[in-house]
Symmetry: D2
Subunit: 294 residues, 4 copies
């Protein structure tokens, strides 16, 4: 999924590129990659790598200052990519990622994404917010983001909503779909269509609780930590590869409603963190795990 980024340098005469590389692990990869970069006249400013013993896969993320344009850079890299069978992405550092946000009625996650994007802390471009409820239109509009809502109360409506999601993904050339407390289960087909580019947030407890009203269960059991997990969407509900987790301490005096408010704060910051890393090409997948190059 190499994004169709700028083809000419963007920063005066040099561009700051970000590369990610995934391939089968074997000796010589770093040398080959760095050789191609040196030949192209590029200078490596940041580099992280990881060899997974679980899957025998090699992962690398590089930032490179270079005066060449995209076509020339790709030409330099092509032989190495071919030789090692690499999955390569090449993007410009800081380019806003085209993101579709799905919400229902809870505002906390959407507000955090919008505010931070506006503050320049989150490299996102949000052409649309889609919701199954109308409540959050005002918030989206304040930040100048188009908002559409359509009810999802029947299988037909659900199919229509999901068709609209796929339309919007195509229409806006969407690279990331964020489920910012979207309270509908996605169909397996949609999960597959968005595999690797949809991120969900949900609450997390120690120990975990199944079934309805987990905050009430957590209260009943007297848990001392509640938190949130951001993960890739898969058709295994809430079981996709984990991107980020946070917890916060609570005590016996908290009501279930207070636990929920506290949990929502963790949801916001955990989701925003996961989205930021994804938009910066810092999240790579290794089977059921994620490699996070912070």
């Amino acid at each position: 999924m190499t994004p169709p980024g700028p083809t000419t340098p963007t920063n005066g005469s040099t561009t700051h590129w970000v590369l990610t590389i995934v391939c089968a692990d074997r000796p010589g990869i770093v040398h080959a990659v760095s050789g191609a970069i040196v030949e192209s006249g590029g200078n490596i400013t940041e580099s992280q790598q990881f060899s997974s013993d679980d899957t025998g896969t090699f992962f690398m993320r590089l930032q490179v200052q270079s005066a060449v344009d995209r076509a020339a850079f790709e030409l330099h890299l092509a032989p190495v990519v071919a030789r090692y069978g690499m999955d390569l992405t090449l993007d410009v550092v800081g380019r806003p990622m085209r993101t579709l946000v799905l919400v229902s009625t809870a505002a906390h996650c959407l507000n955090d994404l919008l505010f931070r994007e506006r503050a320049g802390q989150l490299p996102l471009e949000m052409p649309l917010v889609l919701s199954n409820h109308p409540q959050l239109s005002g918030l989206a509009e304040f930040y100048g983001v188009p908002f559409e809502s359509r009810a999802v109360t029947s299988p037909e409506q659900k199919a229509e909503f999901e068709a609209r999601v796929l339309d919007a993904v195509a229409e806006f050339d969407i690279e990331l779909v964020v489920l910012a407390r979207y309270m509908q289960i996605l169909s397996p087909e949609l999960c597959d269509a968005l595999a690797g580019r949809a991120i969900n947030i949900h609450h997390s407890f120690l120990p975990g609780f199944k079934g309805a009203n987990p905050y009430r269960q957590a209260h009943a059991r007297g848990v001392k930590l509640i938190g949130a997990t951001a993960h890739f969407v898969t058709s295994d509900l809430d079981e996709g590869p984990i991107i980020e987790q946070n917890v916060v301490r609570v005590d016996h005096s908290r009501t279930p409603a207070e636990l929920m408010a506290i949990g929502q704060d963790e949801e916001s910051r955990t989701l925003t963190q996961a989205v930021t890393w994804f938009a910066e090409h810092r999240v790579l997948r290794d089977g059921a795990r994620t490699i996070i190059f912070k």
Copy 2:
């Protein structure tokens, strides 16, 4: 379980008492208790209370400076205790709690308990460490604590071990049993016999994992937080009321062995914290929950 503490003041002419009170919630309890304390000449130096909406129970912990001895103090309190049907404990602040420690082969939790007791940070008196393995005898002996080991590899040996636990509880008038990584499942009978005075520690993950080798499972799923939970022992394995929990952040580069080492650190500090609060009469039970008066 009022401990047979000193019957006369221990601190010059005044004693620093700690009281815990549990009873059905109704108006006037605080006034009645404080009235009895004022009449006895005592001065309240610390007070915490909580009314549980879940069970309609009232909980209170007080520290009181008083010149009266135990018998006189109890005489002053008796009418209030009777009137409200209170479950009262009365102890001297800082009195070491008589504690039996059960271990297997892992040293980290035992070492932390022994070191902190020696450092004066943990009000425990440990007359005995019991183990199903001989490995930790040297550690116990360094700190001057008697150590017994007996193998548990058959149902008969298990019954003998548990009989020795109950004997030791009786022999040393034990108030608290700490399972400091004791890797045998206690029989339901022993769980019942120790109900409310046995604390266990186990690892915790977000999400939870069932079955063998949880650290390997956590690694496979790529969890970002691992932790530990200290809880009361009940016959529901690892499901007793939670006393304390902690987590620590990990990343993709950690091996299962490293996750285990990190998890052990959390186990030590979480268990020590739970034991400290218990020994200071700061842990009260409210059904499946705990009230922690920190």
Copy 3:
């Protein structure tokens, strides 16, 4: 500073009151207070107390369910208040506190206050935002809060701005002034006029740094933790009683600009936490210290 709250019960036939009591410490206070409450027909639902060894002062915060109105409640409490020379406040739980917010150009703290107030998590009523710059007017207006800006670039303008602050405090019967990244030093006269009811936020480092551009200094020294401190405003710049502090971990790869962005997050959540506790009457002053009844 007893606020002129409602004089009749607000919650059907009963009101949920919050009381704070400060007086010289001596035996019998708790008994006397609880007696007055029992006589008035009230039921204590939450109670915290602390005796300061530093100043010999007794602090208490109570929540009480009661069917009486304010006048009747105060009548019941009056003899105890007189006898112990108490500083008493009596308010209704959850009543929004009338708050004046001062800002300059940074949006993060103001946004967090407005969003959480709207979400029902922060019991504030904000009749006005005052600024020395016009930039944040749109944000305030989105949340329906009046916004005034006037430049502060000369001593005369500063005096006028501060006069407007005092006018607004009087006009709106302000109980709390929040300096949400207001980047002007208040005059000693204004600090005195707002003593005990103005809260400021500033960045914090380990170790501390004096002088301009502390984030650059923190970067140069390679600090691993950066944070924020919320404190009462006093004429000793940034040295008032501390209400809340937080830190977050950073590493060598962060630029000074990134350190600043991270620090701003800590500022937002620390200020909002401090303001929440203040609005809930959980912050009491003990000389240069604060007592926080969480």
Copy 4:
């Protein structure tokens, strides 16, 4: 300071090497280093790098599986080292670092170092503990570490103690000196002699406090966070490059003595963490900053 490690492979037919590289930053370094490693038949298993904008310095840490011995490996690397003017260290992963520990009377840091070394979590070899007090001899002896004490109550005794430090450094070929709550100020001469290989731990507060009894000052100011900083020893007292910092939350109810106990826990874990990273060659110096390759 390349340690005189094993000259032949240690792990069957291959050795797991750790390299650190520091040199002036310029294009091509990674390619040149990886080329030399590939030529030598090595496989890079872990790699981290950082380019400091502050000093124009390039930092790299690599782990390499290789079948060659030290002499052959160094021969392969020599041209690259010469060409880039590299400061290179080459060691075997996990080799225990020869460490001299200095203590006074507080046991907490020493106990943590000894227990974790014994548990296999800390790659240290401790041939000697030196103290200006005799109290901790039993603890060192339990772990089988020789202990020497000599009083330091006069300038002459201080000079003798420091001479013994330098003797021990030479005698045991010491690579790291740990001041584990050694409560004497080192002379500038000793600081210089140990530059870059001596680590100290001290308490940290927000804000910082100068002068005697900082815990009492922190209490008086009502700080909410206390912590610890591990740093390199320099002749600027407590101002050396920071390696690691931690804080923990406290509240108004803590006495100065309790603050000290809490602070000591942070000291232990912070010092042990810093020492672990140093022993694993993860700590590099960049002027007044440290680069930590976790």
